[in-house]
């Protein structure tokens, strides 16, 4: 009847997974924040340039 090492190993695994999940949620939050870039979606246009929100600037200015 020696459950302690097994249980300790399980506990350690669970702690590792919790730490990974915390980091994952932090990174996801940073990406999902406004201006964070989003979890998916293109970051550059077809020519390879960074996508810029200048259209909004021009809309505000011109319109």
């Amino acid at each position: 009847m020696t459950p302690s090492p097994d249980r300790a190993a399980v506990k350690q695994l669970a702690d590792e997974r919790d730490a990974l999940e915390r980091e994952l949620s932090a990174v996801v939050d940073a990406l999902s924040a406004p201006g964070g870039g989003g979890l998916s979606g293109p970051l550059v246009d077809a020519e390879g340039f960074p996508r810029v929100c200048l259209g909004a600037v021009f809309e505000d200015f011109v319109g």
Partner: protein, 302 residues
């Protein structure tokens, strides 16, 4: 054409008003200079030949890519860790044979004395593991307390009308000793490797071989009827609590020792045994057949 230095992407969308390129450029630069949003970040000359928009990203592309990569990595790691944790939890939470063996053995104690008494030949030629397990078993109430001998193979299938069937071997039996072949001092693979020679010698000499098997105690009655391992789970309600984890692991706490006499000989089928065995691996809670290697042993009796 556009004037030099005017980034193509900064063109406004088509509008009703016709804007000249110069007008667009001037208005845009003025707008950027006056907008507080950009004034702190960019020192804009009135006339610039540098492509402005190339550096005016609101999004740090490298940072976003790094974060996305991190997200993918973390998701993979979490999934792998969850799988490991799942398996580990199954091991930890599985019923321990040492803990509940008395309860299971006491409930299934009456059948064993009736069944394993048939072998007429005493295990004279049985290996030393057999007497070690046999001597305390003389006391009827507690045969399973003794440390069980280590099996080297499990019977996977028994053909009808074969020497194995005549000897009483049943599907699921764990072979501890077959003649002089035991698990002692060698691995299951080498024991199985020595099996054909032993069988061939027995066939040539036309003599019998003592066989010692471990058999699931609750499975005695269904095994006599030729039922497989999953059939016995549904057979006895009392065996429901006594059945091990459903992944094929044989619980060492519920095995009983059975001695048989086998006369290997040619029969209608392949080999001289008429049964199919697979090597077994000793795990923490019992024995697990190594099904992956069963193909290599298929014709072991020949």
């Amino acid at each position: 054409m556009l004037p030099p230095g005017w980034p193509v992407r900064c063109l406004p969308p088509p509008r009703r008003i016709e804007w000249s390129h110069e007008r667009q450029r001037c208005c845009y630069l003025e707008h950027l200079r006056l907008t507080s949003r950009f004034s702190s970040r960019f020192q804009l000359p009135v006339v610039s030949s540098a492509p402005l928009a190339w550096s005016q990203t609101d999004i740090d592309v490298a940072l976003v890519r790094t974060r996305r990569n991190r997200v993918a990595t973390l998701r993979t790691d979490v999934e792998a860790l969850s799988n490991t944790l799942h398996l580990k939890l199954q091991e930890v939470l599985a019923p321990r044979p040492s803990a509940d063996a008395p309860a299971g053995a006491s409930s299934s104690a009456p059948p064993p004395p009736a069944e394993p008494a048939q072998p007429p030949a005493p295990p004279a030629a049985a290996p030393s593991a057999a007497p070690a397990a046999e001597s305390p078993a003389g006391a009827p109430p507690s045969p399973p307390r003794t440390p069980l001998p280590v099996p080297f193979a499990q019977v996977d299938a028994v053909h009808a009308d074969s020497p194995a069937a005549a000897a009483g071997l049943a599907t699921g039996d764990l072979l501890v000793a077959l003649g002089s072949v035991t698990m002692e001092g060698n691995s299951a693979a080498s024991a199985l490797g020595a099996l054909p020679a032993t069988l061939a010698a027995a066939v040539d000499a036309a003599r019998t071989l003592p066989v010692v098997v471990l058999r699931r105690a609750a499975a005695v009655a269904p095994a006599a009827a030729g039922a497989a391992g999953n059939g016995e789970a549904t057979a006895a309600a009392a065996a429901a609590a006594a059945t091990p984890a459903a992944d094929g692991d044989v619980d060492a706490g519920r095995l009983e020792r059975v001695e048989l006499v086998l006369r290997p000989a040619s029969w209608g089928g392949r080999g001289v045994l008429g049964c199919h065995v697979v090597p077994v691996r000793v795990t923490e809670t019992g024995f697990r057949p190594q099904v992956a290697t069963a193909v290599a042993r298929h014709g072991q009796g020949e």
